[in-house]
Amino acid sequence: MQTDYIHIILADDDEDDILFFTDAFDELKINTKVNTFKDGEELMDYLNDDQSRMPNVLFLDLNMPKKTGIECLKEIKASHKMSEIAIAIYSTSASEEDIEKTFVLGANIYIKKPGDFKKLKKLLSEVVSINWQYHTNGLNKDNFLLSL
C-alpha cells in the first residue's frame, strides 16, 4: 500500500550532520519520517530485526565507526527483505571510480558532499523528490541511478 509520506533512515556518526539533514528534510513539502543511527552496527541491527519497518530511502555515510557504509551496503544488497530500499551514499570523495564502484555494489544515489550547507540542502531535497517519483510512480528501482 502506498503511504503519503516517505520513510527515511539516516546513518551517520556526526551529530552536526544529523541535525543538518533532519532540518533539511523538515523544510520539504513532502512529508517525511526520519530515523537516525550513529553507526553501521546499530543500523544493521535495526534493519535485520523482523519487527522493523523498512525505509523507502536510506542515507549512508561512507565513513562510520564499527561498520563502514560499504560494508552495510553489501549486507543490505545481499538481503531479500531489504531489496526495496533506495540507497543514497554520501561521501567527500568525488572520483568517478569511487562513484562507479558504489553503483556497481548496488547503491542508487551518490551524493558528493558539497562544502556549504545551502547546497547540501538543495541536493537533499532533490534526492527526496526524485525518490518520491520512484515511490509513487512505480518506476523500476533496478534502473535507478542518480549522481549529484
Partner: protein, 188 residues
C-alpha cells in the same frame, strides 16, 4: 541461470484487472490504461473486496477528483512516451489539454500541487526511464533510441540523460551490466 525479462505493462495490467474483476463476478469494461467502468452498481462490501484484492498487486483505487485527474495526466504521458502507436503531431501541452479537456495551465498547476513536481519534469523522467529500458533490453544504440523517442539529436538525449541522472548513458549501461555480471557469478 538468470533470465532477463521485458515486460509489456499494458498487457500485464490488463490481465491482472481481468482476473481480479472476473474473480469477484463484477460486470465491467476496461476503458483504457488505468480506467475501468463498472456496468452495475457495486455493493460497499464488494468495493472493499475489490480494493483489497487489487492492493495485493500494488494497484490502488484513486478516489479524489484531483487525484483522478492527476492520474489521467500521468497515464496520458506514459502512453505518449511508451506506446509507439500514438503519434503526436502537436506540442505535448496541446495534446494533453485536448485529450483531457482542460487548459494546460490548469492541468499544470494541479499536477504540481499534488505531485510536488511538474508535468515537464514527469515527462522527462518517463522518457529517460524508457531510454534506460531500451539501452539495457534492446539492440538499439543511443542514436536509434534518440530517434525513437523524438529527440532532435542524440546529443540532446545524451545531455538530458546526464542532467537527469548525473551519469552518462554509457556509464549507466556499463554499471548495470557489471551488476548483472556479479549477480550471475554469485548464482553460478
Amino acid at each position: 541461470m538468470k533470465l532477463f525479462l521485458k515486460f509489456d505493462f499494458n498487457t500485464v495490467s490488463k490481465k491482472i484487472l481481468e482476473s481480479k474483476f472476473n474473480g469477484l463476478n463484477l460486470e465491467y469494461k476496461i476503458i483504457g490504461f488505468g480506467e475501468v467502468e463498472l456496468l452495475k452498481k457495486i455493493k460497499p462490501e464488494e468495493y472493499l473486496a475489490l480494493n483489497d484484492s487489487l492492493n495485493d498487486y500494488g494497484i490502488e483505487i484513486v478516489e479524489s477528483q484531483k487525484g483522478i485527474l492527476v492520474q489521467k495526466i500521468k497515464d496520458t504521458i506514459i502512453d505518449m512516451v511508451f506506446n509507439e502507436d500514438i503519434i503526436v503531431n502537436v506540442k505535448s501541452s496541446v495534446y494533453l489539454s485536448e485529450k483531457l479537456g482542460h487548459s494546460y495551465g490548469y492541468l499544470s498547476n494541479l499536477f504540481s500541487e499534488i505531485t510536488y513536481s511538474s508535468i515537464e519534469n514527469f515527462m522527462i523522467i518517463q522518457k529517460i526511464e524508457y531510454s534506460k529500458q531500451l539501452l539495457l533490453n534492446s539492440e538499439l544504440n543511443l542514436t536509434e533510441i534518440a530517434f525513437k523517442l523524438n529527440y532532435s539529436s542524440v546529443a540532446h538525449l545524451s545531455t538530458q540523460f546526464k542532467n537527469t541522472t548525473g551519469i552518462t548513458p554509457s556509464a549507466f549501461q556499463r554499471i548495470i551490466l557489471k551488476r548483472r555480471d556479479i549477480a550471475q557469478q554469485k548464482a553460478n
